[in-house]
């Protein structure tokens, strides 16, 4: 198995490469840095087109040269250029060819420092990938020889989300990474005109937190019944006046990743207000691994296998 890192020529690829390195080291997989030469389409017999292709291939090679300088000796790695009709398609083909465990992509060029920013390629990947996609925040860096210190799975309170969390637990158990379940909610401002007090929403959120604690206790019991279970498990609930403070209300290790397995992922298709998954993604201080809709059943099945043996 391998970790495929998507390299975009002409962009800052360091966040994606650093995330790829830490994942490859923690999970013990090979790292494949793949630059997609998407100019291969439309296939044209005319000669000058091949000139143009050659130039683009050179640009891709140059990007990979930069990546090579970043790759450490302690992990097995390879750099490849792959021709495909589009960057998205090329990356997915590479994942299939390399039997990828995770696909890592970097942030869009216009993102805020420290935040994840979806670009057109990463948005497309979230719709069509059949494996978990790791998204690196803008300017992401890790210390040399760092390994993942924790894997957090975001829980939104739905049954699909619970299945994905079991899958994440299996992954963290197999790689010996401590595991945590986390839920987040903003304490939104109350409609002041309702005359019931501006702090009334706090008690509604407290009740929500109780529901989440009860659910996560059940999930922890299910994790305990797994054949392979993580050594260390924890639960965290983050609330605050907005999503940003809700996410920073819990402690984060460095490096840590968060698995996003919300059933609200469907809403990522059309980025809509109110999608919890989208809000978590936008405000996360750590890299996020999204389990796309197509990958969900395979991913959850790994937990069932682990429980059934």
């Amino acid at each position: 198995m391998s970790i495929v890192v998507g390299i975009a020529p002409g962009q800052d690829n360091r966040p994606a490469v650093e995330l790829g390195i830490v994942l490859a080291r923690s999970y013990g997989h090979r790292l494949v840095a793949a630059a997609i030469d998407s100019a291969a389409w439309p296939m044209s017999p005319v000669l000058f087109d091949s000139e143009y292709q050659k130039k683009l291939r050179n640009v891709a090679e140059a990007a990979l040269d930069e990546v090579r300088a970043l790759l450490p000796d302690d992990i097995e790695s390879e750099c490849l250029v792959h021709s495909a009709r589009s960057s998205r398609r090329g990356l997915l083909e590479m994942c299939q060819k390399e039997n990828a465990f995770r696909l890592v992509v970097g942030p869009a060029a216009d993102g805020k420092p420290g935040r994840i920013a979806l670009g057109s390629v990463s948005t497309g990947l979230l719709h069509s990938a059949s494996l978990p996609v790791a998204l690196a925040p803008v300017g992401y860096r890790v210390a040399p020889e760092a390994r993942l210190r924790r894997l957090t799975a975001a829980y939104s309170g739905s049954s699909t989300s619970a299945g994905l969390i079991l899958g994440a637990a299996v992954v963290s158990a197999e790689s010996g990474v401590p595991f945590r379940i986390a839920s987040f909610a903003p304490r939104s401002r109350v409609i002041s005109a309702a005359g019931v007090g501006l702090d009334v929403e706090s008690s509604v959120i407290d009740e929500w937190a109780n529901v989440i604690r009860r659910d996560t206790d059940e999930i922890l019991c299910s994790i305990d019944r797994l054949q392979i279970k993580p050594g260390e498990t924890d639960v965290a609930i983050g609330t605050g006046p907005d999503w940003e403070s809700a996410l920073s209300a819990v402690q984060w290790e460095d490096p840590e990743i968060m698995m996003l397995g919300s059933s609200g992922l469907g809403a990522l298709k059309r980025v809509s207000l109110g999608s919890h998954a989208m809000r978590i993604l936008q405000h996360s201080p750590v890299p996020i691994v999204v389990v796309p809709r197509r990958a969900r059943s395979d991913y959850a099945a790994s937990a069932v296998d682990a429980a059934g043996e």
Partner: protein
């Protein structure tokens, strides 16, 4: 085993500042924001349709009805502010009564609040349906058939637009509070803009003759009008409940309350003057979508009326939203105290809202709105608010005597004159309401108190805590302070 008297008057301990829910609240609201909270939450609750209900009762002197209702509301709200500052709990006057007077009086207040919010939601939805019809007619020359737009007593079968409005609000609130707040802010701005537009266009039709017969029903008519109008000031208590988040509450709260009250009363009086100057008072009787109709008569064209009708349709929406919201949160708080079935306190983990409670509340309000006429609903809202205000004013006096050393964010000036005046003012307006309103109110309160005696008294969380405490240390001091 506590005696019945001990059970009925057990008092929830007053949490200290910062304890319980207060811990994560910061003092961020200044004088201007607080005044705007008061203005935004109050204006629009009744002014869009209450004129057609109150002018036939008071005549042009309805202007004084607005001022009297505003003064009484102001007195009560100042008492509210003291309690909000000294009892830092959510849940409105129900929680204040629970922490000061005891369980039975708290249930009485809850009955008033449930009536106030529930009926206000219904009343406003009924008013909305009139403006929807006006708007539909102006824009498309089409009206919802009478049978489907009015309550049975008004010759219809069911008020369908009102029910549709409630369903939309329910949908929004179930989806999540965050979006509702944004939508609410937009609507508050819309309604203030529309009212100013009404005043500007309305004064162009000024005719001093319309004020000739100023008070056809004398002073009693003015007071009766105040009773109907009172619920146009309900939103004022929103200012008081922000006590925990206000900077320098001792100075800011009374200033914001008084400023908001002056602004709101001024807008109301301006709207009333503009409306009365443009149309003889006798013509208000039975007029639907009053403000729109007045503008159409003045200008002789439909467009100003259409603007007002559209503004009313948008802004009244926000009031209904807030009413249902308030109702569900009060039931939530009561359910946490064991006074209501547990299902009102359940929060859906996906949407972070009490979904079941919201749906039940909407269905009940929809039944009221669909089948009961508007003026009766308006009076029922007022009596609920008035009684709740009396209890709050009383609680201020009781708490001053019982716990004189309690830290208070804001103190009522001229104590005990102001609380006593507030009580007298509220009682005076109640005495001028229709007898049927008072009777229905008493029946409703008895039903809620009956429910308490059967259900709440035994399932009270506080009661259970006290019983558990007593069985451990065997002191037997279960009763609260009396």
């Amino acid at each position: 085993m506590p005696t019945l008297r001990q059970q009925l008057f057990r008092v929830k301990p007053v949490p200290q500042q910062g304890e319980e829910t207060g811990s994560d609240l910061k003092r961020t609201i200044g004088l201007f924001s607080l005044t705007m909270i008061g203005v935004g939450s109050t204006i629009g609750t009744g002014i869009f349709f209450i004129l057609s209900e109150s002018v036939p009762v008071a005549g042009p002197a309805v202007i004084w009805s607005f001022v009297i209702a505003g003064l009484v509301a102001g007195l009560a709200v100042i008492c509210y502010a003291e309690l909000a500052g000294s009892v830092p709990v959510s849940g409105s006057s129900y929680s204040y009564a629970y922490a000061t007077l005891g369980e039975l009086p708290a249930m009485g207040v809850a009955a008033c609040l449930l009536l106030e919010y529930g009926v206000a939601g219904a009343a406003v939805a009924v008013g909305w349906s009139q403006y929807v019809n006006q708007l539909l007619f102006n824009l498309f020359g089409f009206e919802i058939p009478h049978a489907l737009a009015y309550a049975p007593e008004e010759g219809g079968i069911v008020n369908l637009p009102a029910i549709a409005l409630l369903a939309m609000c329910c949908f929004l609130l179930v989806r999540g509070t965050g979006e509702s707040v944004v939508i609410n802010t937009v609507m508050v701005c819309t309604k203030i803009g529309v009212l100013l537009f009404f005043v500007l266009v309305g004064v162009t039709g000024w005719n001093v003759d319309n004020f000739a017969d100023f008070a056809p029903f004398g002073f009693s008519g003015v007071v009766a009008g105040s009773g109907l109008i009172f619920f146009s000031y309900v939103g004022m208590d929103a200012v008081a409940t922000a006590g925990d988040e206000t900077k320098n509450p001792k100075k800011t709260m009374p200033r914001a309350l008084i400023s908001a009250l002056i602004i709101v009363t001024t807008v109301y009086v301006l709207v009333a003057i503009a409306a009365l100057s443009a149309q003889p008072w006798q013509e208000f009787d039975g007029q639907t979508a009053g403000l729109s109709a007045i503008l159409e008569n003045i200008v002789g064209a439909q467009w100003p009326g259409t603007i007002v009708a559209a503004g009313a349709v948008i802004s009244i929406f926000s009031v209904t939203l807030v009413s249902i919201y308030g109702q569900t949160r009060i039931l939530f708080t009561m359910s946490r105290d064991g006074m209501m079935p547990k299902l009102f306190g359940e929060v859906n983990p996906r949407t972070l809202t009490p979904v079941k409670g919201t749906i039940i509340v909407t269905v009940v309000i929809a039944i009221l709105a669909g089948f009961i006429p508007l003026n009766f609903l308006a009076e029922m809202t007022s009596i609920g608010t008035l009684v709740a205000f009396i209890v709050v004013s009383l609680a201020v006096i009781i708490l001053r005597v019982r716990e004189p050393d309690l830290e208070r964010g804001f103190k009522v000036p001229f104590y005990p004159v102001l609380p006593v005046l507030a009580i007298i003012g509220c009682l005076w307006i109640i005495s001028n309401l229709q007898i049927i309103t008072i009777v229905v109110f008493l029946i409703w309160t008895s039903v809620v108190l009956g429910l308490y005696l059967i259900f709440g008294r035994r399932s009270s969380v506080l009661g259970k805590q006290r019983a558990a405490h007593d069985s451990i240390d065997g002191t037997g001091s279960a009763g609260g302070k009396k």
